[in-house]
């Protein structure tokens, strides 16, 4: 695949992701809180339905688990920290990008926080934790 075609393909699916996430309502803090507090099941069903369809698709394509994602000592504390951060800021890594795209200027603070958190964790992990947390295979 040529470099231009590769970037075009990646860009197409990036556009699709950003568009879908925004249109579902993940960028809206109230909608997200309503999902997490089970006041409204629409977004929860969109996410769970998406996972179910993806799982069905991977089964149909006979895709086995990658085995690059192992349960390790960072899985539990990392997931808890992420969940807390998501509830407070309303942002998993895609969502602050979408929030800024929708005009929410303060979401830039979330983006800055994610950047600082990732850079800080890299140093922390290299020096103290030494966790091999696998790869998203991107």
């Amino acid at each position: 695949m040529s470099n231009t075609r590769l970037h075009s393909t990646v860009a197409f699916f990036g556009l699709a992701l950003g568009f879908t996430v925004s249109m579902i309502g993940f960028g809206d803090y109230g909608e997200m809180n309503a999902m997490f507090t089970f006041q409204d099941f629409r977004m929860f069903l969109a996410f769970a339905g998406g996972v179910t369809l993806v799982a069905a698709g991977f089964v149909a394509l006979k895709v086995a688990p990658s085995r690059t994602k192992m349960i390790h000592k960072g899985t539990v504390p990392g997931s808890i920290l992420f969940g807390a951060g998501w509830a407070i800021s309303g942002g998993c890594p895609t969502i602050p990008l979408v929030q800024v795209a929708e005009g929410y200027v303060p979401a830039l603070a979330t983006i800055a926080g994610i950047t600082v958190g990732m850079l800080g964790y890299r140093k922390l992990n290299a020096r103290f934790l030494h966790i091999d947390s696998g790869s998203c295979s991107v």
């Binding site: 470099n3 970037h7 990646v10 860009a11 699916f13 990036g14 556009l15 699709a16 992701l17 950003g18 568009f19 925004s22 809206d28 803090y29 109230g30 809180n33 507090t37 977004m43 996410f47 339905g49 998406g50 996972v51 991977f58 394509l61 086995a64 688990p65 990658s66 994602k69 349960i71 899985t75 504390p77 990392g78 997931s79 808890i80 920290l81 992420f82 969940g83 807390a84 407070i88 800021s89 942002g91 998993c92 890594p93 895609t94 979408v98 800024v100 929708e102 979401a107 603070a109 926080g113 950047t115 600082v116 958190g117 990732m118 800080g120 947390s133 790869s135 998203c136 295979s137 991107v138």
Partner: protein, 216 residues
């Protein structure tokens, strides 16, 4: 009242993105992984240069062995010569077994880091397009009335969002994925680590959001 996608349309959109990405590129995406790679831009580029040099060296050895075999008529030399791309690149990180991908994909090689920047930029543009086409685009210096009611209002919003972002950044890297890498694609591939991580981060978000809603 904003009109959001019905749940089934959202599910179809997410599944289209995930499965389409896999079918087109032979791998799954993870936004936190893309973000992390973009933040390591310099070292990622250095690794890519090393990988390219390694591949070129292997190709030259292959050509030299083939030329030698043709000159001497020794077919065994050709058979022993390393295949192009058959060696392990020096970086090796993030490698996946080739059998998992579609026939046209090369999942043993990571996508260039520039594609990850493209992916994030495109996600941003996708959000702009969605906001403009649905009439929701509005430049504002708050996070909406729900954030003000449930979390905090005024200037305190900025450090709170920054702190929440730090938790997201540290947490996603510590657990090895986020709502797309673990949640959508990991659970979709029935990865035990992703199922555990998704249950935990979703459960924690439920508890925290309920506390913000009912208590704080």
């Amino acid at each position: 009242m904003t009109e959001w996608l019905p749940w089934w349309a959202g599910a179809l959109g997410l599944a289209f993105t995930s499965l389409g990405y896999y079918l087109a590129l032979g791998r799954v995406f993870g936004v936190s992984g893309s973000w992390e790679r973009v933040l390591r831009w310099k070292s990622e580029r250095e690794t890519e240069v090393l990988d390219a040099q390694f591949a070129e060296m292997i190709a030259q050895r292959r050509q030299a062995a083939a030329a030698s075999a043709a000159a001497s008529g020794d077919v065994q030399v050709l058979e022993r010569a390393p295949a192009v791309g058959g060696g392990q690149p020096p970086s090796g990180s993030g490698a996946q077994p080739a059998k998992a991908g579609p026939a046209h994909a090369t999942p043993q090689e990571r996508l260039p880091v520039s594609t990850q920047a493209t992916f994030l930029a495109a996600a941003f543009i996708g959000g702009v397009v969605a906001a403009l086409t649905s009439g929701r685009f509005e430049v504002r210096t708050d996070m909406g009335p729900d954030f003000a009611n449930l979390v905090v209002d005024g200037w305190l919003m900025w450090p709170v969002l920054f702190f929440g972002g730090i938790l997201v950044g540290v947490g996603t890297r510590m657990s090895g994925g986020c709502s797309s890498g673990h949640g959508l694609n990991g659970c979709g591939r029935i990865e035990p680590a992703s199922i555990l991580a998704t249950c935990l981060f979703f459960g924690t978000a439920v508890v925290m959001s309920t506390l913000l809603w009912k208590v704080i």
